[in-house]
């Protein structure tokens, strides 16, 4: 049997997913045995033009991590889609937008203001308030930069995705299991999340009882006991709403789940689910007290409930910051070659 072709690509993400792939340890040799790695910019020297020249559908498996923040990433997503038989949204950024997706609370201008104007490290060095320009004229011709969009999109908001591998980053054992599934042709129905179909509590060894929460604590405020459910102790543990598969790693080291594996099957909006569940167990009937419990214990609701999933949520982005298609409305002469 001829070897399969494997590609990995990295868009708007931190790079942790790339490292996570190496977490499969010696299995990487099995990967090399089974696949030709045809494109992996982080680890091998490949060029986009090489990929462009490949016949469509010639790559067997593409693990694509990162959300879509720029026109370049969007192009690459479309390119990898076209060239790959199976495209996997690899890790939380590609799956749900993850931390970069939280920038959807702002728009391009606000993000650039933070980075190029108000940032304490950049301000003195940028007195003329320079901003990245898609096209810059220089004596030698025109220089171009990818266009930075107002809104970060997930991979499946950009192109069709075959499978999702959740996690920030995905666990090595799950990566290996997914690769085995591809190798053995035992993939679940298209569109599935590869993993378990229940939530983190299922794997969490803590003792659970009926829930009544009088006060939410932030992690630095208490040292929880190691026996009982963290949520019952007042920590916002997202395990109740978060897909299992990680082995409940965080709760086992006395730290609440923050939700990187995203929602369980059939959940349309992770944050709304989690909020609805937590709201149900706040132990008060008095609206003012409830308001106080929430305001004191959860000062950053979006960061708490949508830490990983804002870009994939019903909300997707802040309306207050507009961002009404600023990216789309402008002509995008990105490729205007000099």
């Amino acid at each position: 049997m001829s070897k399969g072709k494997l590609a990995l690509y990295w868009a708007a993400s931190c790079g942790g997913c790339e490292i996570a792939v190496l977490g499969i340890d010696e299995h990487i040799l099995d990967v090399a045995k089974a696949f030709d790695i045809v494109f992996w910019p982080c680890a091998t020297d490949g060029k986009v033009r090489d990929v462009e020249k490949m016949p469509d559908g010639s790559i067997d498996l593409c693990l694509f991590n990162g959300g879509i923040r720029t026109s370049e990433q969007e192009y690459m997503a479309q390119l990898m889609r076209r060239k790959s038989k199976v495209l996997v949204a690899f890790g939380s950024c590609a799956h749900e937008g993850c931390i970069p997706g939280l920038a959807n609370l702002y728009n391009r201008k606000a993000i650039f203001d933070t980075v190029y104007k108000e940032g304490s490290t950049t301000f003195p060095e940028n007195p003329q308030d320079h901003r990245p320009q898609p096209i810059t004229d220089v004596p030698e011709g025109k220089l171009s930069l990818p266009l930075f969009y107002d809104t970060l999109k997930t991979l499946d908001q950009t192109v069709e995705v075959d499978y999702y591998l959740p996690g920030c980053p995905p666990e090595a054992k799950n990566i290996w299991a997914a690769l085995v599934a591809v190798l053995e042709g035992k993939l679940p129905p298209k569109g599935s999340v590869i993993g378990l179909h229940t939530t983190v509590c299922d794997e969490c060894p803590r003792k659970r009882s009926e829930k009544k929460i009088k006060k939410f604590y932030r992690t630095w405020e208490i040292i929880p006991d190691e026996e009982n459910c963290l949520l019952e102790q007042g920590l916002v543990c997202c395990g109740i709403a978060t897909r299992a598969g990680c082995g409940a790693l965080c709760p086992q080291v006395n730290s609440p789940c923050i939700g990187c594996h995203g929602p369980n099957d059939g959940v349309e909006d992770y944050g709304a689910r989690l909020m609805s569940a937590l709201a149900s167990v706040i132990d008060s009937q008095d609206p003012e007290e409830i308001q106080r419990i929430i305001a004191e214990g959860i000062p950053d609701p979006v960061g708490t409930f949508y830490r990983f999933s804002l870009a994939a949520s019903y909300l997707r982005r802040s309306k207050a910051f507009g961002g009404d298609g600023a990216a789309a409305a402008q002509p995008t002469p990105l490729a205007a070659k000099a």
Binding site: S144, T151, I240, A241
Partner: protein
């Protein structure tokens, strides 16, 4: 295969057609909504001809789904479901949409109303395509009934059922049944003696072979649902062994500790630390008031134990939890009196000779603390002038907005008793005189003739600060006489405040246990204010008497009997239908996080420790959806309200947005991704 949908738009005479262009809605639905094969409008869909239209179309056109756009499903959902079932279509494949209460009755713009009706029809049509056939289940009805409250309403309900041959458990919080009626002297308008007509019923209940009474007991916990409730009753420790006590009363007689009786005697008289509330109490078994008993407070005495001929005193008795199973529950918990100190300008608690209506009742009662003599607080002086102030704490936005319903007639009764028993003059200060029931207005006429004085106006103040010589030593009632249009100061010796009836302090708490709700004022809410006055939104739980709103004795008795009739109907039918619209938990998805465990208002969720999953008990689930929306793992599905069905409904209601090329699922930033081109690919 595509569904075949039939749409039926009702005119409801002009109720709907007067504001909505129903022909246009039907025409539009037939043309624009996918899979619609029949779309009709009809004068009255609920008529037998209207129903026949649906049945014929199902048979002849092979409809697989039906939408009826008409009134509230509360009214006619059953009608149309039955029509579908008659024609062989599962009844849960019929969807009603409400274009009357939700559209025509609340709209003023015909065009907009028509557009809204279209959207609702589209929503129902999209939804109905995703509906699944469901089958109803049945539960047997336990013939036993729990009656909570041993006042006149509860007693009536108990007797009706017990006489019909059904077992009844009667729970009463006080040591004796009888309720407020046992405290009264005479009853209006006939002036028959309250005790004389009540006590026969009490002893009948006490001796009835079908009645098991729990007095000095409270409902602790209720689980289960119609047909099969499980109830835990807390039998408070009497410290008198019920089975041994003969009710001879020697313990009461010999008890050296006297206590002010704030309950039965309304603070006007004394009882002992071991007591029965009144001589005709049922049961006759006394209770020890441990807060006042010298043995319990100081460890001395035990006189009752020494004198008891049957050794029935048990100082170590503990509260006991008794479990019973019943098919239905009648709530008849009554009312409590408004606290008159909340209106300080009337002086209650500060001015000695200001009395509440309950105190005055006891004073008038021949068996009461004054032996029926109307005297001032000193216990001997007969008053020469008495003021009766109406609407104390009722019809008052600062306290209770409602009319207490019984006080006008009670005030007239007091007036009569004063005129009958004393030489005093009696004044009634009223806002409006309300005497609407049978023979009530005649009683008012009688009092007018007997010489009771009536002053129309809300009393501003009762004071002992005299301004004029003839006011010295009197209570002065300051009032605007709205008929004379003048301020008046009327000196009297005694003031009687007609305090409002209020919901019991723990009415909400009990309501929570039973799954029934309270109105803003705190009275239990009936299923329908006109057409279903004793049922509640919880099947198998009925309300009777003043716990549902202020009521006099005849109305309470009527409701007690009505509730009993409803229960008897349930028992006779033998089984109740269980709606299949319930929640279910996918054990694969459930992680056992237990978020849902204490949310269910019907206690229908149980946790399986062994498997580590939660489970819905189908017979108890009412399909309210609370757990469905709370489940963070999406493991709970509400039948008939699946995500798919709700999403389809939303898509239907947004049909015009979608038709405008604004798909509901478009990114909020409104942009299609720009056609990108390679970057840096040079």
């Amino acid at each position: 295969m595509a569904e075949r949908v039939g749409i039926y738009v009702c005119h409801c005479g002009s109720n709907i057609a007067g504001m909505i262009d129903v022909e246009e809605v039907a025409r539009w639905a037939g043309q624009s909504i996918k899979d619609v094969v029949v779309s009709r409008d009809y004068k009255f869909m609920c008529s037998s001809l209207g129903q026949k239209l649906i049945e014929d179309d199902i048979r002849e056109q092979g409809l697989t789904r039906v939408v009826v756009a008409a009134c509230s499903p509360h009214l006619h959902e059953k009608t149309f479901r039955r029509a579908c079932q008659n024609a062989g279509l599962n009844q849960y494949l019929c969807q009603m949409t409400n274009i009357r209460e939700h559209v025509s009755w609340v709209s003023t713009d015909r065009q907009k109303a028509t557009e809204k009706a279209k959207a609702l029809v589209a929503a129902a049509a999209e939804r109905v395509k995703h509906q699944r056939p469901l089958e109803q289940g049945f539960v047997k009805v336990n013939p036993a009934t729990l009656v909570i409250g041993g006042g006149i309403a509860g007693l009536q309900a108990t007797l009706e059922l017990a006489d019909a041959g059904y077992p009844v458990y009667l729970v009463e919080r006080e040591p004796s049944i009888g309720g407020h009626m046992a405290q009264f002297d005479k009853t209006f308008p006939t002036l028959d003696c309250s005790a004389c007509i009540l006590t026969p019923k009490m002893s009948e209940v006490g001796q009835h072979e079908n009645v098991k009474m729990f007095t000095y007991a409270e409902v602790e916990e209720v689980s289960g649902s119609v047909g099969c409730f499980k109830v835990k009753i807390r039998q408070k420790a009497r410290h008198v062994i019920f089975e041994k006590c003969t009710g001879c009363g020697i313990c009461v007689e010999k008890c050296p500790r006297k206590v002010v009786d704030n309950v039965f005697e309304a603070g006007m008289g004394y009882r002992k630390a071991i007591y029965t509330p009144f001589p005709q109490a049922v049961p006759r078994t006394p209770v020890i008031d441990t807060a006042n008993c010298t043995w319990f407070t100081r460890g001395k005495c035990q006189v009752c134990s020494k004198v008891c001929p049957t050794q029935a005193i048990d100082y170590d008795q503990k509260d006991e939890i008794i479990q019973i199973e019943v098919g239905n529950i009648i709530v008849a918990t009554g009312w409590k009196l408004f606290d008159c100190t909340r209106i300080p300008q009337y002086g209650y608690g500060r001015l000695a000779n200001v009395f509440t209506n309950m105190e005055f009742e006891r004073m008038c009662n021949a068996a009461g603390p004054t032996g029926g003599k109307i005297v001032l607080r000193d216990g001997k002086t007969e008053p020469r002038r008495i003021a009766i102030i109406h609407c104390v704490g009722s019809r008052d936005v600062r306290h209770n907005q409602y009319c207490s319903a019984v006080c006008c007639m009670a005030a007239l009764k007091f007036g009569h008793l004063v005129l009958e028993k004393t030489k005093a003059e009696v004044y009634s200060f009223y806002i409006d005189m309300r005497t609407p029931m049978k023979d009530y207005e005649e009683f008012y006429q009688r009092l007018l003739e007997e010489g009771m004085h009536f002053v129309r106006g809300k009393v501003a103040e009762v004071t002992d600060a005299a301004r004029l010589p003839d006011e010295q030593g009197s209570l002065i009632v300051q009032v605007e006489d709205t008929l004379l249009g003048t301020q008046r100061r009327i000196p009297v010796d005694m003031v009687v405040l007609m305090a409002a009836l209020e919901p019991q302090a723990d009415a909400k708490e009990l309501g929570l246990k039973l799954g029934i709700s309270c109105s803003m004022a705190g009275w239990y809410t009936e299923r329908h204010p006109k057409l279903d006055p004793v049922a509640t939104m919880t099947d198998g739980v009925f309300v009777a008497g003043a716990c549902q709103g202020p009521k006099d004795i005849p109305a309470s008795v009527a409701q007690g009997a009505a509730a009993a009739a409803r229960v008897a109907g349930m028992i006779t039918a033998g089984k109740v239908t269980i709606e299949p619209i319930i929640a279910s938990i996918d054990e694969q998805k459930c992680s056992g996080c237990r978020i849902c465990n204490n949310l269910c208002p019907y206690n229908a969720i149980e946790y399986d420790e062994e498997k580590g999953v939660s489970r819905v008990v189908a017979a108890m689930c009412k399909g309210c959806g609370t757990c469905v929306s709370a489940c963070p793992a999406n493991a709970i599905t509400g039948a008939h309200f699946s995500n798919e069905q709700i999403a389809a409904e939303l898509e239907g209601i947004l049909w015009d947005a979608i038709a405008d090329g604004r798909p509901a699922s478009a990114a909020p930033d409104g942009s299609k991704a720009p056609q990108s081109t390679p970057v840096g690919a040079a």
